[in-house]
């Protein structure tokens, strides 16, 4: 029974997972902070030590943020830009690629 080798393998795997978990936490941590802060009232934001789940969940923050700037408009604009860009790129690039690959025309290799 290769008991000691198996245990060494498991220990290595656990150690590697530990590193990955630590790194994952540091990747997610700012997002968690963002969500937690978005639900706090203004005086709770800068408290030390920081509160992770604020007692009265301030959902009004989202409403206020949405109303402060024309978010609906901005979102629509971003959506339009993204869609038009992607569709435009698909059409023009596939056309150009087809031409360069299949059709023999003068100046093709430039």
């Amino acid at each position: 029974m290769m008991n000691s080798i198996n245990r060494k393998k498991i220990a290595t795997k656990l150690f590697l997972h530990l590193i990955l978990i630590l790194v994952s936490i540091s990747m997610i941590f700012p997002f968690l902070w963002m969500i937690s802060t978005s639900l706090k009232s203004l005086d709770q934001v800068f408290l030390i030590p920081p509160i992770w789940i604020p007692k009265p969940l301030q959902w009004e923050n989202y409403l206020n943020a949405w109303n402060a700037l024309p978010f609906g408009n901005a979102y629509l604009n971003s959506l339009k830009i993204a869609l038009i860009c992607v569709i435009g790129q698909l059409i023009t690039c596939s056309m150009a690629a087809y031409a360069l690959a299949k059709i023999n025309f003068r100046g093709k290799n430039i």
């Binding site: 990747m27 700012p30 997002f31 902070w33 030390i48 150009a96 059709i103 023999n104 025309f105 003068r106």
Partner: protein, 294 residues
């Protein structure tokens, strides 16, 4: 030319026309305009005035030009981010390649990258806040003195570099992971039969086989690193005392705050020359350390 050939030519040009027109209007024309503009003095409202190379003389030699400072800051930023990003991304990719749950970890690592750089810069501005930021709170609870991340001129570029590393590591890890997974297993098996241990396998098999990926990552991160702007504009606005002013930030400042389009164009041209030179040098030296499979 026969009628058939003529028709083929027309079809060909017709198909690439949209792409070509887009390239001409949105890429080629502005680039040429910028080259020409760097020899003029223009403030967006009056007529451009020809000044020859005095724009270039100004940004290099005049005592009050910020170009040397911006260049130094940008080089500092690159020295902070690129080795760290490369090293971390490669290490994480190697670890990920050898454990289970790859998909979950990869998704988590990639999460910062798919987030908008503006949003990330805002969040990190608050996290790194000298008095109230969480990072400093944590450090204080360990008894370490709290560094003023964004208001200390010596630290500000490091803080921005840290944000960028956090943001970009996931992307490069994914690229390295793809590169690692294309290494055929036979090499590792042969090495095991010959009695190699893990360290030897890493340095003799993994590193050389992944060098094309490393090359690509190095070029992309250099080109992007020279053009850093979002984080600087939001997190420190070039301050304190211009300690975090990068080259692109200088272009923005000259162009839209000081209204000296000529200077801005000149800085852009110099940047272009620098990045082009570095990329060409990298290509030239690549055959010394990049292994391609025969």
């Amino acid at each position: 030319m026969s009628k058939k050939e003529l028709k083929e030519n027309l079809w060909g040009f017709g198909f690439i026309a949209p792409q070509l027109i887009g390239f001409l209007v949105f890429s080629l024309f502005p680039t040429v305009a910028a080259i020409i503009l760097s020899f003029f003095d223009w403030d967006l409202v009056s007529k451009p005035k020809w000044v020859g190379i005095s724009n270039f003389k100004y940004i290099f030699f005049s005592g009050e030009s910020d170009f040397p400072l911006a260049l130094k800051n940008t080089v500092l930023y690159i020295l902070y981010t690129i080795p760290a990003q490369l090293f971390l991304a490669l290490v994480f990719a190697v670890i990920l390649n050898n454990v289970g749950l790859k998909m979950l970890y990869r998704a988590i690592f990639f999460l910062p990258t798919i987030t908008n750089s503006v949003a990330i810069s805002l969040v990190w501005t608050w996290l790194l806040n000298g008095d109230f930021g969480i990072i400093n709170t944590l450090l204080k609870s360990f008894g370490i003195e709290e560094p003023q991340w964004l208001t200390d001129p010596n630290l500000v570029m490091l803080s921005i570099a840290l944000t960028s590393i956090w943001w970009g590591v996931g992307y490069y890890t994914t690229i390295f992971l793809a590169g690692l997974q294309s290494i055929p297993n036979v090499y590792y098996e042969a090495a095991t039969i010959d009695g190699a241990n893990a360290v030897q396998k890493f340095f003799k098999i993994t590193l050389p086989m992944v060098s094309p990926t490393t090359f690509f990552v190095l070029i992309m991160s250099l080109i992007n690193g020279f053009q850093v702007f979002d984080q600087i504009y939001i997190m420190s606005n070039g301050g304190p005392a211009k300690a975090s002013m990068s080259l692109v930030f200088l272009v923005y400042q000259y162009g839209f705050k000081d209204f000296k389009m000529g200077w801005a164009a000149a800085v852009s041209m110099v940047m272009f020359a620098i990045i082009l030179t570095i990329t060409l040098l990298q290509f030239k030296f690549s055959n010394r350390w990049v292994y391609y499979e025969r």
